[in-house]
């Protein structure tokens, strides 16, 4: 897994690429939580994530909880098919805010 952080319209955009599994999820978790060291919305671009397991999903849940605590928005954008499948199976697709693209997520920022 690789990651990249962009800043756009005051929001942090985290772009993950590759597989988020038990091996890489600690890094994913760290990256996400770091974004909440400063206030601001966080958008995660999941378009190039080919696999995510429960530990990766747990990182996303933890980030969502951190955002709620801080009063920021946390959204998933351009969710890849394999990722969407896991979120559905975990019944979390309704828990997260999902956008078709990063642009759409940015437009919907409060």
């Amino acid at each position: 897994m690789k990651h990249e952080i962009l800043k756009k319209q005051g929001a942090s955009i985290v772009v993950f690429t590759g597989e988020i599994d038990l091996e890489s999820s600690p890094a994913a978790r760290e990256t996400l939580l770091k974004c909440f060291e400063h206030t601001g919305n966080v958008i995660v671009d999941l378009s190039d994530v080919s696999y995510i397991d429960s530990s990766g999903v747990a990182s996303l849940v933890e980030a969502l909880q951190a955002a709620k605590k801080q009063g920021s928005q946390f959204a998933l954008a351009a969710v890849s098919e394999p990722t969407r499948r896991v979120l559905e199976l975990a019944r979390l697709d309704k828990v997260f805010t999902l956008y078709d693209s990063v642009e759409q997520a940015l437009e919907n920022q409060a």
Binding site: E19, D21, L22, E23, S25, Y51, D53, S54, S55, V57, A58, V61, E81, P82, R85, V86, L89, A90, R91
Partner: protein, 589 residues
């Protein structure tokens, strides 16, 4: 010395006897005529009127009236009247006037001069212009119960006085009339009872029609309901969804009366109607609960289980609101209970999900699910003891090879052929996993094995395992989406070995074997770590948000069967996961 009456008196007496004899034969004739009328009457009012006319004529009275007690014996109402004034319909309070006193005191009266009798009520005379001089009044009683009275007024002979003979005559006639009236009332009650019981029969029939028809074998769901009375407070239902899954439900309404039966009908209808569109048992129960709460009947509630069976995979999703835990009888013979996650319906608002009504997902894996009401476990046996869950389990265990109908028959007959009055409805629903070939496990060293991969139980080894799994799925020709799911499930299982089985400081290897035969894709994951706590590997999502709980949930959701096999060398854990696959070339996913 004996008192011998003078000769003239004796003559008088003989004449009197003759007169009495004539009078008596006249009486008898009248009596038999009236009794005959009264005994066969279909129109009571007409017969009473005829009888009164005959009496008035025979006794030579100017008029007469027959009163019946109504309004719970508080009022006398004139039902028949003879003579110059028709007083039908007038009302006299029980205990008032001569007729009223006659009735409350249950005694006859001859009043020779009404003006001298303080009890006489002038109001009728005043309103009708009739002048009452003398009265003969006799109560009508049957078995000590007073029904009313017959009153004759103004004897039309010279002295205008009623005699003791008239009194005897009227008393005899009053008895016959009372009996006829009593019989007529009983007949009316019978007709009413008959009407009510016919209504009840229709309601029973209506209610039975709410239960599903017995489908042709080998349908995996069967049920039975035996009400204790005409109407049942229990229900069960099942129907097939378009996608082939079967929705089933069983409920028990608190209470036993007609109100419970009506609430049962309402709940059963809600299930059938809402179940067509709401395909999550927890959501369905929450929605039914909302409807029941909206029109809550004080103190009434419904315990209910509903679930979905996928007959192709044996997977069941079930939600339980306050109902006695259903039992799963596994293929290995063990029983496990599924306790309720929520209170009964109709009491308070409930959400579907973690905090309210929760779905339990499991696979029957060739086993059978039993859902029943407390009428089964609390039902009485011949010796008066209760069947209890243990007795119920014994019946099932002994007959596990027999068809479901035979098991139902056995439970019902042991509870109903006891010679005792049953107090509760017996309702039972059986959900079976009827897939064929469940016992055809793939031989572990047979030709079915398509891959074997040993890997160090470390996070960085997982990607390679997923690749092996993905390739195996492709080899078997399973559809891409199914392959994606399988990779997720096996990935989670391997992850659990890495995370839990060895702990933080141990290291070891794990081996994944993949078998494919027919439509069965089987994965065996063997580790050599200490045995896992089986409780921990039950799906608990979403109670536990941690990745472990979620991972187990994903495995159970995706796989059709998940179980632990005895480890070959008695060491470590051997997890088996089975997926029934559809081939890509069948153009199905």
């Amino acid at each position: 010395m004996a008192n011998t009456p003078p000769a003239s008196d004796r003559r008088n007496s003989q004449m009197f006897d003759r007169r009495r004899a004539t009078a008596t034969s006249g009486h008898l004739e009248l009596l038999s005529k009236m009794s005959g009328h009264l005994a066969v009457t279909l129109n009571l009012e007409e017969t009473i009127q005829k009888a009164l006319d005959l009496i008035v004529k025979f006794v030579k009275a100017e008029g007469g009236a027959l009163f019946l007690l109504e309004d719970k014996f508080a009022t006398l109402i004139c039902k028949a009247s003879a003579g110059p004034v028709d007083i039908r319909g007038i009302r006299v309070k029980s205990g008032e006037g001569i007729v009223g006193q006659c009735v409350t005191e249950k005694s006859s009266r001859i009043v020779r001069d009404v003006q001298q009798d303080p009890a006489f009520d002038h109001s009728v005379d005043d309103s009708t212009g009739f002048q009452t001089r003398s009265i003969l009044c006799v109560p009508m009683t049957v078995h000590d119960k007073t029904l009313g009275a017959i009153e004759l007024v103004n004897k039309s002979t010279d002295d205008g006085l009623f005699s003791e003979t008239d009194l005897l005559m009227l008393q005899t006639l009053a008895s016959a009339a009372a009996l006829a009236i009593h019989n007529a009332h009983m007949a009316e009650e019978l007709v009413e009872q008959e009407r009510v019981s016919r209504e009840l029969e229709l309601a029973t029939e209506m209610q039975r029609s709410l239960l599903p028809d017995t489908p042709a074998a080998p349908f995996p769901v069967s049920g039975f309901n035996l009400p204790a009375n005409e109407m049942s407070g229990d229900f069960y239902d099942f129907f097939e969804l378009e996608d082939g899954r079967i929705y089933f439900s069983l409920g028990d309404v608190s209470g036993k009366g007609m109100d419970a039966a009506l609430l049962m009908s309402k709940t059963a209808s809600l299930f059938r109607c809402l179940g067509k569109t709401l395909h999550e048992p927890d959501t369905l129960l929450a929605t039914i609960n909302r409807e029941l709460c909206e029109t809550a009947i004080h103190g009434m509630f419904v315990t209910m289980v509903c679930g979905l069976l996928n007959p192709e995979t044996g997977a069941v999703k079930l939600a339980n609101a306050g109902h006695e835990p259903p039992l799963i009888h596994s293929r290995d013979g063990t029983f496990s209970a599924l306790p309720a996650s929520a209170p009964p319906l109709g009491i308070m608002p409930l959400q579907a999900g973690d905090t309210g009504i929760r779905n339990e997902a499991f696979n029957l894996d060739g086993g059978t699910l039993y859902i029943f009401t407390d009428g089964v476990t609390e039902g009485c046996l011949e010796d008066g003891s209760r069947l209890e869950q243990t007795g119920f389990q014994d019946i099932i265990r002994e007959r596990s090879e027999l068809p479901a109908a035979a098991r139902i028959e056995a439970v019902v007959s042991i509870l109903s052929d006891t010679g005792r009055k049953r107090h509760d409805d017996i309702t039972l629903l059986i959900v079976e996993d009827k897939r064929s070939g469940l016992d055809n496990h793939i031989a572990s060293d047979g030709p079915g094995m398509i891959a074997r991969h040993t890997f160090p139980a470390r996070a960085d080894a997982l990607q390679a395992v997923r690749e092996v799994v993905n390739n195996a799925c492709e080899t078997c020709g399973c559809a891409t989406e199914t392959a994606t799911d399988i990779v997720i499930a096996v990935g989670e299982a391997c992850q659990n070995v890495v995370r839990h089985a060895y702990g933080d400081h141990e290291e070891g290897d794990a081996t994944l074997e993949i078998y494919c035969e027919g439509g069965i894709l089987e994965f065996r994951l063997q580790d050599s770590a200490r045995p896992v706590d089986r409780e921990k590997i039950k799906p608990k999502w979403p109670e536990e948000l941690g990745p472990g709980g979620l991972g187990v949930c994903l495995i159970h959701d995706i796989m059709d069967k998940v179980d632990y096999l005895p480890a070959p060398e008695g060491q470590g854990n051997l997890l088996r996961m089975v997926k029934y696959i559809k081939r890509k070339d069948n153009n199905e996913t």
